[in-house]
């Protein structure tokens, strides 16, 4: 293998690597906030919100990520405020992932015994207070493993940014491979960069899941 490809284009690789991490982290925060909101919609007593929550999750989960990214790339500009590839891609990633996170959080909330809600409500907390102070803190513990897995997915999925010129790892790799005509070597190094991020995370997630299993 030709290591000069890595050393000659190290700057490009690193810039892409940095943007891939940044986009994944931003999308993790975005999708968590959005997902938590949708999860609450889905279990709230208000019928309209519940329907919206269910519709959102069902729709987003059944369309491709790339399509969501394209919608955020072309949509806003049709309305007069163009977003660049990195931002449109990161928003698309957040929206797409939020549907999956919403389901994970909902499952986590459902796992908290009903009696606790009743106890909290009868001791004078309102619905929102019960959620924020009693239910969510417990649900979060159960939600961490699926959230971790979603983060791994986010890192991998952020590669679609390349299709809207989002300056991620794959984007720079395309540039390097058309310059060097060495597709194989170029992308083996790209794979290494992804694995450096995803393999340790996968390992950590498995350890965490084991611990949870042992506890119960």
């Amino acid at each position: 293998m030709d290591f000069s490809i890595l050393t000659d284009h190290f700057g490009s690789y690193m810039e892409g690597f940095y943007n891939t991490i940044l986009s994944s982290l931003l999308a993790l925060c975005g999708s968590f906030l959005l997902g938590a909101l949708i999860a609450i919609f889905r279990i709230t007593p208000v019928k309209g919100l519940r329907w919206f929550g269910t519709g959102y999750v069902e729709f987003i989960r059944n369309i491709p990520l790339l399509l969501v990214v394209y919608i955020f790339f072309y949509g806003p500009s049709a309305l007069g405020f163009p977003l660049d590839g990195f931002i449109a891609g990161t928003i698309g990633l957040s929206v797409y992932t939020s549907a999956f996170i919403a389901e994970a959080i909902r499952a986590g909330i459902m796992a908290v015994p009903k009696g606790q809600t009743e106890a909290a409500r009868s001791s004078g907390l309102n619905y929102a207070q019960t959620m924020v102070h009693i239910i969510l803190p417990q649900a979060i513990k159960l939600v961490i493993p699926p959230l971790g897995n979603q983060f791994i997915n986010l890192i991998k999925n952020s590669s679609v940014l390349t299709l809207v010129a989002g300056l991620d790892l794959m984007y720079f790799a395309d540039g390097i491979s058309t310059e060097t005509y060495r597709t194989f070597d170029t992308y083996i190094f790209v794979a290494m960069f992804y694995l450096v991020l995803t393999l340790p995370l996968s390992y950590a997630m498995r350890v965490w899941e084991r611990r949870l299993q042992r506890k119960y």
Partner: protein, 216 residues
């Protein structure tokens, strides 16, 4: 936004041509990845010396890489080491490899979830290892695998859209060509394509829900 122009008969027919390729490629990949995934999953579960750890390594590597990278790599990097695959073959191979790794984990998880006591009982009543797997573990594990398997198949169908990166003439690629003929078609086309993906996937999940209620 030009809905009438975007939804001309020619464009609709062209999008349906794309859907046809999407469905064909997804269907073949689902079958292949299911078969391979089951075999690998059982190998992983059975703890066969040498073979199981090797499968573990392969599955982990594939699961932790972006599919987009795998598709591009198989189509344009492997030829540099003498493995040449055509357009559709490469798309199917990439999707199959990636999804089979995912399915292998689902299968292993499903098998592991079967109660250990039952296995011991079966063994002590004189069944061989293989018989225990075939008659006791598989039927029960399979039932638990159905929901995650179906969502994996839906993922696969959505993931075919990533083959735009190798110019596979599937739904997303054809949508891009329509958009290229008139930018005012962008949003109408993307919405229609979203609806198509949603309908197909929603149908798939409905079917599986009926299947589940029948088998359980």
């Amino acid at each position: 936004m030009d809905f009438a122009g975007a939804y001309s008969t020619d464009n609709l027919k062209f999008l349906l041509d794309g859907l046809y390729i999407t469905l064909i490629v997804a269907f073949i990949s689902i079958i292949l990845s299911f078969v391979i995934g089951c075999i690998v999953g059982v190998i992983r579960y059975s703890a066969i010396p040498v073979l199981s750890p090797i499968m573990f390594v392969i599955v982990e590597l594939i699961r932790n890489l972006p599919l987009l990278l795998i598709i591009f790599f198989i189509r344009f990097a492997l030829p540099e080491v003498g493995i040449k695959l055509g357009l559709i073959t490469a798309a199917i191979a990439a999707l199959t490899i990636f999804e089979a790794a995912m399915i292998a984990e689902i299968v292993r998880g499903g098998l592991t979830s079967v109660d250990k006591g039952q296995i011991e009982a079966a063994r002590s009543s004189g069944l061989t290892n293989f018989q225990t797997l075939w008659h006791i573990v598989l039927p029960q594990g399979l039932r638990r695998m159905v929901p995650p398997l179906v969502s994996q198949f839906i993922s696969l169908l959505k993931d075919t859209s990533l083959a735009v990166v190798i110019s596979l003439p599937e739904l997303m690629h054809n949508a891009n060509i329509v958009i290229g003929h008139g930018y005012s078609y962008a949003i109408p086309t993307l919405l229609l394509v979203a609806l198509i993906y949603f309908s197909v996937n929603f149908l798939l999940s409905m079917l599986s829900r009926r299947l589940e209620t029948k088998t359980v």
